[in-house]
Symmetry: C2
Subunit: 130 residues, 2 copies
């Protein structure tokens, strides 16, 4: 069952995520929805969008959860979305980088589900500023 509804708030949240070049936290997204809904609703919409494989969840190196659209990643790719994330230590922005297939050197008695590859450093924009 579970009929999916396309509400105003949901459309707004999804559009905000899609239009942004970098991943965004719930706090940043809520700041942009201009009070069309409660902050709790944003959390619940994000949950739903993840479940619907329209966005994906990324933990930044500081522990804050960010969300980015699933443009580049297909449905199967998403399940083991092994693309790389770049976390800028200067501007704190988190960016999805093209797929980066890697060889896992891991004992065979571990059952692998998803791979999370995040690289910290300085992004092009911040290098120019420096």
């Amino acid at each position: 069952m579970a009929i999916i509804r396309n509400t105003i708030a949901k459309k707004a949240v999804f559009e905000i995520i899609q239009l942004n070049k970098t991943a965004m936290s719930q706090t940043e997204i809520f700041a942009k929805v201009n009070n069309i809904c409660d902050r709790v609703t944003v959390y619940r919409i994000l949950e739903r969008l993840v479940k619907e494989v329209k966005i994906h969840k990324i933990v930044n190196i500081n522990g804050v959860i960010n969300y980015a659209p699933c443009n580049s990643c297909s449905h199967e790719q998403h399940l083991h979305h092994d693309h790389l994330h770049f976390s800028c230590t200067t501007c704190k922005k988190l960016t999805c980088i093209a797929d980066n297939h890697i060889e896992l050197n891991i004992p065979s008695n571990y059952q692998v589900a998803e791979v999370f590859l995040t690289v910290s450093g300085i992004c092009p924009d911040c290098i120019i500023m420096a």
Copy 2:
């Protein structure tokens, strides 16, 4: 300057981290120190141990920060500690796995500092249980 002191609480925290096979969060560590110090002190001790390169910090896939000893990783390795972390979705335990050197497929205009590689799935212990 900055004289490093080896206090009772610090020794206890370090020992707890060393004796545990998997990485631990501040909450888990504080639960084990048996009230020999305040929870804020645990946070501050962890900070210091990271700075002294005795332990390293790992963000779990749920955003919670965990700590593990720097046994296997040498001083240089630590700076770009490119070993792999396994995050069990069943028991929630986070384990350091042997070094896993990878080829980064990343545009040259990004300045890379550290690589964080975390794999989710089911750990050997939980596979046996299932």
